[in-house]
């Protein structure tokens, strides 16, 4: 029996879909660790990214932080944290949020910096206070890049959350590490497949969220309709990229 057939029969086995080791429970565990890590990442990265983007002060912080964190080996960080803090959820979530912070930070910072300076000037000029400039103008215009950063962070965190099982936690990683221990390769393959499927599913959901929260005015094509009579020939270049890639790049940030 080849691995594909074994994989199919693994998924067909009702025993794998119920109980504390079943797919639904493992799914919730996986989402729980990932969600927590993303939340912490957002709480840390978003205010810093917005503040530095708005004021333009401390860009070195963003570049340094994003580069430094990206260079850390995930598994090494996790083991180190566990050694210091003991086995627990906290080291797992911290290790994962370290993964989430660079793309979130870069997305927030680049999103705010990329807002057309003339638009920001106009916002001040009509009498918005600094907070209003940030939240009523800069933030909505930065949303495509901020959400791009979130999608990229979610993808990485979900894909990596399997390491939680390495330090005896649940999640889809359980199938991979348990399978490895008892040389149950179909189980390992199933675990890997579930991780990949979840990452793609969440990516799809976030893409839908992005569609619904980003103003149609920031989408150059699709969404808002163009009138055939409107004189669009001389429309100036759109201030925002029409479909920002999920991973916003920062000038000066090298992978």
């Amino acid at each position: 029996m080849n691995i594909l057939n074994q994989l199919v029969s693994w998924f067909a086995d009702p025993a794998h879909w119920s109980g504390s080791g079943g797919v639904p429970i493992r799914l919730l565990e996986h989402l729980y660790y990932s969600g927590l890590a993303l939340l912490i990442g957002l709480v840390v990265a978003l205010p810093i990214g917005l503040a530095v983007g708005h004021t333009g002060k401390g860009s070195f912080l963003i570049v340094g932080l994003a580069n430094g964190l990206r260079a850390l080996p995930e598994l090494g960080v996790l083991i180190l944290l566990v050694l210091f803090m003991g086995i627990g959820l906290i080291p797992v979530v911290i290790a994962l949020s370290i993964l989430a912070i660079p793309p979130l930070l870069a997305g927030a910072y680049a999103g705010i910096r990329n807002v057309d300076p003339a638009v920001v000037d106009a916002a001040r000029g009509v009498g918005m206070r600094e907070q209003q400039v940030l939240f009523k103008v800069e933030l909505p215009n930065a949303l495509p890049l901020i959400l791009g950063g979130l999608r990229s962070a979610a993808l990485q965190v979900i894909a990596t959350a399997a390491v939680a099982s390495f330090v005896s936690f649940g999640g889809f990683g359980r199938y991979i590490f348990d399978g490895l221990r008892i040389r149950d390769y179909p189980q390992m393959a199933a675990g890997a497949l579930l991780v990949a499927a979840l990452a793609l599913a969440v990516e799809g959901v976030l893409a839908l969220v992005q569609r619904s929260v980003v103003s149609p005015g920031l989408r150059a094509s699709g969404g808002a309709r163009r009138s055939p009579t409107a004189d669009v020939a001389s429309t100036p270049e759109p201030a925002q990229p029409d479909d920002p890639s999920p991973a916003p790049e920062l000038a000066g940030v090298k992978r």
Binding site: A122, V126, A239
Partner: protein, 365 residues
Amino acid sequence: MIEFRGVTKRFPDGTVAVDNLDLKVDAGKITVFVGPSGCGKTTSLRMINRMIEPSDGQILVNGNDIMQSDAADLRRGIGYVIQHAGLFPHRTIVDNIATVPLLLGWNKIKARKRATELMEIVGLAPEMAQRYPSQLSGGQQQRVGVARALAADPPVLLMDEPFSAVDPVVRESLQDELLRLQSELGKTIVFVTHDIDEAVKLGDKVAVLRVGGKLAQYDEPGVLLARPVDDFVDNFVGRDRGYRGLGFLSSDEIPLGELKTVTIGEAAPAGEEWVLVVDGERRPQGWLGAEQREGLETVSADRLVPGGSLYEIGSGSLRSALDAALSSPSGQGVAVDAQGAVAGAISADDVLRALDATRRDEQPS
């Protein structure tokens, strides 16, 4: 009224953008700041709403020192229009226009209603309300920019090179539109441009600034064209200033000469000289020369030589009078009354004599 009192702007790197500027902007008029790049015209404008803060001196708006009020409150009371319009890309046109009323705490319905009114005032079709800025042309965006600035009905409007990014044809129509709006609204407008033609067209008064932020001359456009104070202003005002200056001289004194006319349908007149053909209401249709008259029995509209520009008595300038004379095939300019009916002929000689008389009257003593 806006008043600059000894205003200086020094930037941290030491450059002086505006140097001891003293100037009064008249209420209800358009005042244009013009000059080459680096003359501090935009800096001067942006100091009025504290987008840039003066290093020295005082700026008063309606008698109040701008530094005494909160910057955001001050700006909400001053309309602000910039190059490229600076519209908010994430907001619809109607919400862009409603920005300041909403900041001032109006409710949404009232603010949107006001925004819809303004769209009509600046000549935007109502169906644009729900579109986004990226769906509009540059000229349309600039109209939205003007509407946004006017939304809370501020007495003062600051316009920073608002029309310089649109093509010349659209620019001209936006300028005309601004003059039309101003004749209805009577705002105190400060307008910055680097284009002297735009300055003399729009300005009730024009301030020419020189590099280094010094005021070179502050005068009505006609005076600026006729009597530049020095070589810098003379150079900046540019070629043809004599001719363009005629646009600011009125011409009540031009004598009207006899003009031979014939109505369409009448018998063709004898003789060699040019005859102006008019319709039943004496509106000029074109000219008949000796050539066109050969073998012609009754005057019809199809064999006419097109006429030149027309000079309207009462509202026309010396420039339009001279142009009427120069562009007419017969050398006789056609003067018409307010209804467009022929009133008489003007010759280039008469215009130049009227110009002489006007100059004698206006000679500074």
